[in-house]
């Protein structure tokens, strides 16, 4: 299990390449990368605030839960904080499992929990001012599918 919370940019390709050096029983690797969107061409940059004492613990708990539920061969979570430019990667998740169904389910689970349960807050700074990104109802609703 590899968990990293960092200000620095990371190399998506290098991370996936390293993650894919897996044990021979692994047949499936899924990755998710979240990018700074600028759908209206008005974004100057994004600021991501987090709760340092809690962040890594919360992510580790989420990753351990995924590991247990889907018997993963490995899990990677990288999440940045601080100032990010449009088009930069905010975060990345990767999962490895013998078959694809578990790798996909675990990656979606991790993303649903990171969206709404890891202590990060995004602020968009545009030429017209700054605004905190509001949580989306659809993200909170997505969590319900993982309850037994």
């Amino acid at each position: 299990m590899r968990i990293r919370v960092q200000n620095a940019a990371f190399d998506i390709g290098a991370e996936l390449a390293e993650f894919s050096n897996v044990r021979p029983e692994i047949g499936a690797i899924v990755s998710f990368t979240g990018m700074v969107r600028d759908s209206e061409g008005r974004l100057d940059h994004m600021e991501i605030e987090h709760y340092p004492a809690m962040t890594e613990r919360a992510i580790t708990a989420i990753a351990e839960e995924a590991n247990t539920r889907w018997s993963l061969g490995d899990v990677l979570v990288i999440h940045r904080f601080g100032r990010l430019q449009p088009g930069e990667a905010i975060m990345m998740v990767a999962t490895a499992a013998p078959h694809r169904a578990n790798a996909f389910a675990a990656a979606e689970f991790l993303m649903d929990y990171l969206k709404s349960r890891a202590p990060f807050w995004k602020k968009e700074v545009t030429r017209d001012g700054a605004a905190w990104v509001a949580a989306r109802d659809v993200d909170e609703a997505a969590l319900s599918r993982w309850r037994d």
Binding site: Y51, H79, K122, W132, E140
Partner: protein, 82 residues
């Protein structure tokens, strides 16, 4: 004595990221009532609890979570990670 932390727009409304608080409250809801009684900026920040989340000693908690033995309480809006 508790460390009380604020994040995102809660931090901006209250005007600081962290403070030491002397409290008589036995749970989070009681602490919020004490803070709201202090000043308008606190009353504003805590005016709609449905827009707030709380962590007690770095774990997500409910507003009725007890404060006995607790060292750190954090208030923030719903998280927007990922």
């Amino acid at each position: 004595m508790l460390d009380v932390l604020y994040f995102a727009w809660v931090r901006e409304r209250i005007g600081m990221p962290k403070e030491r608080v002397e409290t008589q409250a036995t749970d989070v809801a009681g602490l919020i009532e004490e803070l709201k009684a202090r000043e308008a900026r606190y009353a504003l920040a805590f005016s709609d609890l449905s827009a707030l989340r709380v962590a007690v000693d770095q774990d997500l908690a409910d507003f009725d979570a007890p404060l006995a033995g607790v060292r750190e309480v954090a208030f923030f809006p719903p998280m927007t990670g990922g």
